[in-house]
């Protein structure tokens, strides 16, 4: 019975591994690459939102910090893309650690407010350019973050390379596909282990009954900071991957429409389930690809979808799955509302 918990994930992983061999269609591969990146970001967001009950509105800002640090290191300082990947996710981890250390003490309400402010202030700074770029590019008028034009718009951010194979979303998408898939699987597995360790149990205990958990000796600050900084680490890793794959990043990646999309993925998948957001990433990212021509209507559709999920079925996809399971096993399970 113990091996059964890995049965379905392994089947899905097998299917995903064989997709480039069956259907090497660039459209499908591109879609799946963005599904993996968005899935990683939304899972890491769920780590804070679902397991801690702390709404980190600035999660996409951490995604962007990872992306921009990686891009800046590789473009202006000539750091190898692989090293930039590691350095930028470590930097995001440290920033997330400091950010959460300071802000969590103010309480969960203030945390959501200050992270919202963080997100919009960061967006402002990135749009403004943040001063001239170092070296020759700065003399040519380029700004540090690239401004509204985006970083890498003039000279693209270098791609990661294994030997002579470039990992990019250019013509040959297959290396990029496998790279993002491996990262997605590794980070999902790490988060799954983290959530099921004693850290995860302590976090859930803090979320559900704060006073009781504290009286049993769980330090809220430590566990909250650990979870938030790990979630920012995975966001930074995803952001850095994104930057090196696409070769160009614009401030739009933390704009409203992406924010709504990510929120919808997390909420539609089910808060605090980890696999729910991963599954919802498949559904909703594909949906947005088909709605791509409708720009403003797309946001309305996604926001309404999220609102109706909140009002009618707040446990999302994961809740639906467990309901079907209990129905299948003929065990009546009462419908649950989320209380955090």
């Amino acid at each position: 019975m113990k091996n059964l918990q890995y049965f379905f994930p392994l089947i899905i992983l097998g299917i995903l591994l064989s997709i480039p061999l069956i259907a090497p269609n660039p459209f499908i591969l591109q879609l799946l690459i963005s599904i993996f990146i968005f899935g990683q970001v939304s899972e890491s967001w769920d780590l804070g939102m679902g397991y801690l009950g702390l709404f980190n509105f600035g999660h996409l800002a951490f995604f962007a910090i990872g992306a921009y640090t990686s891009g800046i290191l590789a473009l202006y300082f000539g750091v190898s893309p692989w090293l930039a990947l590691i350095l930028s996710s470590l930097l995001t981890f440290i920033i997330g650690l400091l950010f959460s250390l300071v802000t969590i003490r103010a309480g969960s309400f203030a945390f959501s407010l200050i992270s919202f402010a963080f997100q919009s202030m960061f967006l402002h700074w990135v749009r403004g350019g943040g001063g001239p770029a170092p070296g020759k590019m700065g003399e040519g008028g380029a700004t540090f973050t690239g401004g509204t034009l985006g970083l890498g718009a003039i000279i693209p951010i270098p791609h990661m390379q294994i030997g002579s194979i470039a990992i990019t979303t250019g013509i040959n998408k297959i290396p990029a596909y496998y790279f993002t898939l491996i990262l997605f699987v590794i980070s999902t597995y790490t988060m799954y282990k983290l959530v099921n360790s004693r850290f995860g149990l302590a976090a859930v205990a803090l979320r559900d009954s704060r006073t009781y958990a504290i009286s049993r000796g769980i330090n809220p600050l430590t566990y909250n900071v650990i979870f938030i900084s790990f979630s920012t680490f995975f966001a930074g890793l995803a952001g850095s991957t994104y930057a090196h794959l696409m070769g160009v990043i614009s401030p739009e990646i933390i704009g409203w429409s992406n924010l709504v999309l990510m929120c919808c993925i997390v909420e539609f998948g089910g808060l605090g389930t980890l696999f729910g957001p991963a599954a919802a990433s498949f559904l909703i990212t594909s949906l947005t690809y088909f709605l791509a021509g409708l720009s403003a209507y797309k946001n309305i559709i996604i926001a309404l979808m999220m609102l109706f999920t909140l009002l009618l079925w707040p446990t999302g996809l994961a809740g639906a799955a467990s309901w079907f399971k209990s129905w299948f096993l003929k065990k009546r399970e009462r419908f649950k509302w989320i209380r955090f």
Binding site: M49, G53, F55, V102, T103, R105, A106, G107, S108, F109, A110, S112, L113, I114, F116, A117, F118, Q119, S120, M121, F122, H124, W125, R127, G128, G129, G130, G131, W256, V260, C263, E267, L271, A296, Y297, N299, I300, A303, L304, M306, L307, L310, L311, P314, W337, I338, R339, F340
Partner: protein, 290 residues
């Protein structure tokens, strides 16, 4: 030179501080009564500006009539949002994440409807009164004076409503103890909806006042909302009317002073750092009532 700088900084501080205080009083009013933060507040701000723009330019109404029409419309907007959408979540004792997500969704929907109806092009509202007064070297347009007067007047009216009318007393009672106010026969649902309606009036009026100074875009409310949140965290969530207004002017003063001597795009990060320092000194907020 320094004196002229000071006069200019003072005028902009007063103007943006009044707008922030309109925003923050609305936010904290909802928080004290219903215990959530309205993330759609910025969109109400945008809605106010676009509503006035539509009535003046498309319906060709008189400016004053348009402003008078804005008051009931904004009240109804907030009332409907609370009564028909958020109320069902509040009754279910949903936590703050669910409420934040729900209000955020409503905000996004309204914002994108505005984008579809009006398009993304920059728009500007005309002034209600043209002309300006001069103090030495510094000039102040009548509109800026109007902002000061209107926001003060609105806050005075709101204090009057809160402390002198029956509904206002009921609102304060619900804020203090929800269960007890059920027992003495207060219609808590209605009070909740009225609270959100009133705060929505403040946001929409702020949107109109600011729309004359800045260009209107469908997202300009979000920016104001983040400033409002900064004031909320710095001053404390339950700092009351005085604390909120004082912190608004403080943040506005810091912001305009930095703006005067620094590149504009470096101001937001420094403002954010100041809030972080404030949080380090006093995590619960600078002006929290004990």
């Amino acid at each position: 030179m320094l004196v002229d700088d000071f006069a200019g900084i003072l005028i902009s501080t007063l103007v943006s501080g009044s707008i922030y205080s309109l925003m923050v009083i609305g936010l904290t009013m909802i928080f004290e009564t219903i215990q959530y933060f309205n993330f759609a507040h910025g969109t109400f701000f945008t809605f106010g500006a676009y509503f006035i723009w539509y009535l003046i330019n498309i319906s060709n109404l008189n400016y004053l009539v348009a402003i008078l029409l804005l008051l009931p419309t904004s009240f109804i907007l907030g009332f409907i949002m609370q009564r028909f959408i958020v109320q069902s979540l509040v009754e279910r004792e949903a936590g703050h994440i669910i409420l934040i997500l729900a209000t955020f969704c409503i905000g996004v929907v309204i914002e994108n409807v505005i984008l579809i109806v009006f398009g993304g092009r920059l728009k500007r509202l005309p002034y209600l009164f043209e002309g300006y007064i001069t103090f030495g070297e510094a000039t102040m347009s009548y509109h800026k004076l109007l902002i000061l007067i209107t926001s003060t007047l609105l806050l005075v009216i709101f204090t009057f409503i809160l402390y002198k009318t029956k509904r206002g007393v009921a609102m304060r009672a619900v804020a203090q103890d929800r269960e007890a106010s059920y027992l003495v026969g207060i219609n808590v649902k209605g009070i909740y909806a009225i609270t959100v309606g009133l705060s929505s009036i403040l946001a929409c009026m702020g949107g109109w006042l600011m729309g004359c100074l800045l260009f209107i875009t469908p997202t300009f409310g979000g920016d104001m909302l983040s400033k409002g949140f900064i004031v909320c965290t710095l001053g404390g969530r339950q700092s009351g009317m005085k604390g909120s207004v004082f912190t608004s002017y403080l943040v506005a003063f810091i912001e305009t002073t930095l703006m005067r001597y620094m590149p504009m795009y470096n101001v937001p990060p420094i403002l954010f750092l100041i809030v972080i320092i404030g949080l380090l000194i006093k995590p619960e907020g600078l002006f929290v009532r004990t």
